[in-house]
């Protein structure tokens, strides 16, 4: 996750209780999703950004996960995510995100 986005997430987490925040991720690969997910939970694993060593413990879902899909308007989802849902390895991403959330 780039340095600016890490700072944005950090700023939001400082003004809002963690249980009121859900981070929605959009990486194209499970590995990328894991990096971003780890960044907002246990801290930036690359130790390069503002979240290095900062454990926000936020909850993160990937945009192609069923939990997110069911929670949003189906038409908007189809329009915005539908295409990527078809080309991405949804199962692998979902399994990785479960791991990130410690489920």
């Amino acid at each position: 996750m780039d340095l600016e986005n890490q700072q944005r997430v950090k700023d939001i987490a400082e003004s809002t209780p963690a249980e009121d925040i859900i981070v929605v991720l959009g990486g194209a690969e499970a590995q990328a999703a894991k990096l971003m997910g780890d960044t907002v939970t246990t801290g930036d694993p690359t130790f390069a950004g503002p979240l290095a060593g900062v454990q926000l413990g936020l909850t993160a879902y990937h945009a192609v996960e069923p939990e997110f899909k069911e929670a949003v308007d189906a038409d908007v989802y189809d329009d915005q995510v539908g295409m990527m849902e078809m080309v991405l390895d949804v199962d692998e991403i979902a399994a990785t995100m479960k791991e990130v959330r410690g489920e």
Binding site: A32, T46, F47, A48
Partner: protein, 349 residues
């Protein structure tokens, strides 16, 4: 026992200063850990801790190599560390070069254990693996999780003065250091065992890994040879009689540039080969056999080529490292281009 002191080197990106736009950041030092130092410190455990972090922009370091290295060394020395760690640099080229250069300099000038880590294809790896311990990492910071334990494991071994294993055992890049050991089986048996495994399609490990050479794409053809200026370059060791530059007969450490404007052809009286490793009689008898000045003069007269370049460049290919050959060519290729040479004929022995 108090913890041993470690100084850590990172670039501007891992210090959170910024990416490419901040790469001209001048060297600075901060007390304690910054960026990946957090993870490294945790992995060092009770044995050692990072007391300071030196940060330098990648562009700054590479554009001011000598000054930057001296400044960084001075910062490191002030903390009187027991161990130095740089990186990991993954596949960031200029970061890898900086990390390798500083690691080498610390080892040589401060005489303390120094180690860095990067991806095998990082240009810094080839440049410094012979002079510094470089731990293997993946190609991106996504592999930081595996890189840190590998790096600290070797660092702690060095710090404690423990015996360092082979590159495979301790996950660092081969430094070209040969160590004698007693094998259980004699060489012929090991070779046959390997061959049998190979024939069966089983895995085997060579005792003499071959270097991987890059491939060079051919240049586009010369459009009009009748107007082209042609230069001769040889690894066949042809030199003026007496070998004035003392080019070595093997593992050449230099190349020569020689004027042939006065020669219609070469002869035994004025040229010879410096090349070892084969019978040089025929090359010495008629040096045109290796460096065809005679034929090119003919072609020049016939108008088949525009002209033969005034100078030829020569080195000895026998046992000469590919990296050295590449370096020589990079130097004189610039001169050839400046001299308006259109094409080069390269000959060997």
């Amino acid at each position: 026992m108090s913890k041993k002191k470690v100084v850590h080197y990172i670039n501007q990106f891992f210090a959170g200063i910024g990416g490419e736009e901040k790469a001209d950041h001048e060297p600075e030092v901060r007390e304690g850990v910054v960026g990946p130092g957090i993870g490294i410190n945790a992995a060092l455990g009770d044995d050692a801790e990072i007391v300071a972090t030196v940060i330098c922009g990648d562009t700054y370091f590479n554009e001011h190599m000598e000054d930057a290295e001296a400044a960084v060394l001075e910062m490191i020395e002030k903390y009187d560390p027991d161990l130095f760690i740089a990186g990991p640099a993954f596949n960031a080229g200029r970061y890898g070069v900086a990390a390798g250069a500083v690691t080498k300099a610390v080892g040589e000038k401060l005489g303390i254990p120094a180690v860095t880590a990067m991806y095998v294809e990082n240009p810094g790896a080839d440049m410094f693996k012979a002079d510094a311990y470089i731990v293997n990492t993946g190609d991106s910071a996504a592999t930081m999780g595996e890189a840190i334990p590998a790096l600290t494991s070797l660092a702690l071994k060095l710090l404690k003065g423990e015996e360092i294993g082979t590159p495979d055992e301790d996950n660092y890049m081969a430094r070209g250091v040969r160590v004698n050991y007693f094998a259980d089986d004699r060489g012929s048996k090991r070779a046959v065992d390997m061959l049998v495994k190979k024939l069966k399609g089983e895995e085997y490990e060579t005792e003499y890994p071959m270097p991987a050479f890059d491939r060079v794409d051919p240049n586009p053809p010369v459009e009009d040879m009748t107007k082209a200026k042609i230069a001769l370059v040889t690894s066949g060791g042809i030199v003026p009689k007496g070998n004035p530059d003392r080019i070595e007969s093997s593992s050449a450490s230099k190349y020569g540039k020689y004027d042939i404007s006065g020669f219609d052809k070469l002869s035994e009286a004025d040229h010879e080969t410096a090349h070892g490793g084969h019978d040089p009689v025929y090359a010495n008898e008629d040096p045109n056999r290796v460096l065809p000045v005679d034929v090119l003069r003919d072609l020049e007269k016939e108008g088949a080529i525009g002209e033969l370049h005034q100078y030829f460049y020569s080195t000895v290919g026998n046992g000469t490292a590919v990296a050295s050959a590449k370096k020589y060519a990079e130097e004189f290729a610039k001169e050839l281009v400046e001299a308006g040479v259109d094409a080069v004929i390269t000959t060997s022995t």
